[in-house]
């Protein structure tokens, strides 16, 4: 049995605004195993992004958390940005528009690894090559707005792993990208976490996308964890009706078309 990196026990999160409260997560029990690729599956309002924010210590001020998040795999509370890297959905808003790509990545390495700027820039150059940015040396001096959406997400991934985190959280990292770029980014994330022995928490609404590489799936609906298990088990023998519904809603190239063929 793999060692637990993090354990969530009876984790609940409420959002308050004015006199109204909304439950974003209700009594979640979940283990994150060291070195695994765990996919969190859910639709809008399922609580999947709140789970990621709670783990990373990024919950907004109007959130109230109860229950425990423990880090037996670290033996201490995690340092955000150092022990946990985060890749957000919108690669446009995760970059500082007035810093060069090189500065942004180097800043993460410098702060968390305690190295100088020169070494940090060398690491940034390395990382840009690893995430397969064309002409990484030129990209160091480029700004985020000069890059395409897919390239921006590659740079965001480089920043997120710059400090060598144990846990990489990717929250819908491909939802704003087209499908060809999506496939490339997913393959890149998979390759990076395997090579570095990172744990990956991949948050998505797309159970098929997750099925291609995740070791385990955890399905969320309306703030609750409805089912978790090894990917193959959950997909072949879903225990929960909602999981079956999600699997049934998937459309790929083997799904029977809704129309009859062309009339000409």
């Amino acid at each position: 049995m793999s060692m637990q990196l993090a354990t969530l026990r009876d984790l609940s999160v409420l959002y308050r605004s004015g006199s109204t409260t909304r439950t974003a997560l209700a009594s979640v029990d979940l283990d994150i195993l060291a070195g695994e690729r765990l996919a969190i599956i859910g639709e809008s309002g399922s609580g999947k992004s709140t789970l990621a924010l709670a783990l990373a210590g990024l919950l907004p001020d109007n959130a109230e958390r109860s229950g425990q998040i423990a880090w037996p795999g670290l033996g201490r509370p995690p340092v955000p940005g150092g022990d946990i890297g985060f890749v957000f959905q919108d690669p446009g808003s995760s970059h500082n528009p007035v810093l060069s790509i090189g500065e942004q990545i180097a800043e993460v390495a410098r702060r968390h690894l305690g190295i100088g700027w020169r070494a940090a820039y060398a690491r940034a150059l390395d990382l840009l090559a690893r995430v397969r940015i064309p002409q990484p040396k030129a990209a160091l001096a480029a700004y985020a707005h000069e890059l395409s959406g897919g390239q921006r997400q590659r740079v965001a991934i480089a920043s997120a792993i710059a400090a060598g985190p144990r846990l990489l959280i990717a929250d819908e990292p491909t939802s704003a990208l087209d499908m060809v770029v999506q496939a490339e980014i997913v393959a890149l994330l998979d390759e990076l976490v395997r090579a570095d022995g990172m744990t990956l928490l991949f948050i998505t609404h797309d159970i098929a996308l997750a099925s291609g590489f995740a070791d385990r799936l955890a399905v969320f609906r309306d703030a609750r964890l409805v089912e978790a298990g090894a990917s193959a088990d959950v997909l072949a023998r879903p225990q929960n009706a909602y999981t079956r519904h999600l699997i049934g809603s998937h459309i790929d190239l083997a799904t029977p078309p809704l129309i009859v063929g062309p009339t000409r």
Binding site: S44, V181, Q182, A208, S211, S249, L253, T255, P257, P262
Partner: protein, 261 residues
């Protein structure tokens, strides 16, 4: 009567800003048959939304010709253009951005009926109720604000608004891309049912080849402003001829049930 409802021939469009010129569309030609669906598929920046907007005459092309039901669409103006506009409607990706944020469901649906002079004021509530039922919504929803209803309901209202003028063609630009997967299937089924019953043709723009395959009779694949491949849907999906087509087929996530490591 020709089988083609709409034919675009040699359509080009260049956007210019300061020193930069971007050829968004370069000599693109597509056709849509009556009562059928053309799927426009391609990666980001391939020009599919630009082509869709040109078909709607929301953007004027630099060159090319568009025939709509035997009429030169680009030559129309004034009353003749307004009359033809009724017959070509649209549904966009983000239904919240597509409506006046202060609108109610009823006022959003009353607009096309009023603007195109289709239904007298006194008959409008009944016409609105009928439209809502047509898209599978409770007529009681009419008094609700657009921002109060769910994303799936909102996209149904957008479809109802497009139906209000009894169009021959609806252009749908990423119309199901922002919806939850469990809602997406029901909207696709609604579109197919409306097409079967009312003979509406669709231009369905999406980056998702699997979704396009489910509802399009023919597919045009775009890349970098050009149409790189067109054909009947089963042929294009089974045997893509272009590199872009092959990449799109390969990129579709497949449900992997028996993964072994």
């Amino acid at each position: 009567m020709s089988a083609e409802l709409l034919t675009a021939t040699g359509v080009s469009k260049t956007f210019a800003s300061k020193a930069r010129r971007v050829a968004a569309l370069d000599n693109a030609s597509v056709s849509v048959a009556r009562g059928e669906t053309l799927g426009l598929v391609g990666p980001s920046g391939s020009g599919k939304s630009t082509l869709a907007r040109i078909l709607l005459r929301l953007v004027e092309p630099d060159a090319g010709r568009i025939d709509f039901d035997g009429v030169d669409l680009l030559a129309l103006n004034g009353e003749a253009l307004r009359t033809t506009r009724k017959r070509i409607q649209m549904v966009f990706q983000d239904p919240l951005a597509a409506f006046n944020p202060r609108a109610t469901v009823a006022s959003a649906l009353a607009d096309p009926l009023r603007i195109h002079g289709l239904v007298e004021r006194r008959q409008r509530p009944a016409a609105i109720a009928a439209l809502l039922q047509r898209v599978g919504l409770d007529p009681g929803l009419a008094s609700r604000a657009i921002h109060e209803i769910s994303g799936g309901q909102r996209q149904r209202v957008a479809i109802a608004r497009a139906l209000a003028t009894r169009p021959d063609l609806i252009v749908l630009d990423e119309a199901v891309s922002a919806l939850d997967v469990s809602v997406r299937g029901r909207i696709l089924e609604l579109l197919v049912e409306l097409q079967r019953e009312e003979g509406i043709a669709y231009v369905f723009v999406s980056h998702d080849l699997a979704v396009v395959r489910a509802i399009a009779h023919t597919i045009a694949i775009m890349d970098a402003g050009t149409i790189v491949e067109t054909g009947p849907t089963p042929d294009v999906v089974a045997n893509p001829q272009s590199a872009t087509g092959r990449a799109l087929v390969a990129a579709v996530p497949r449900l992997v049930v028996g993964k072994s490591d």
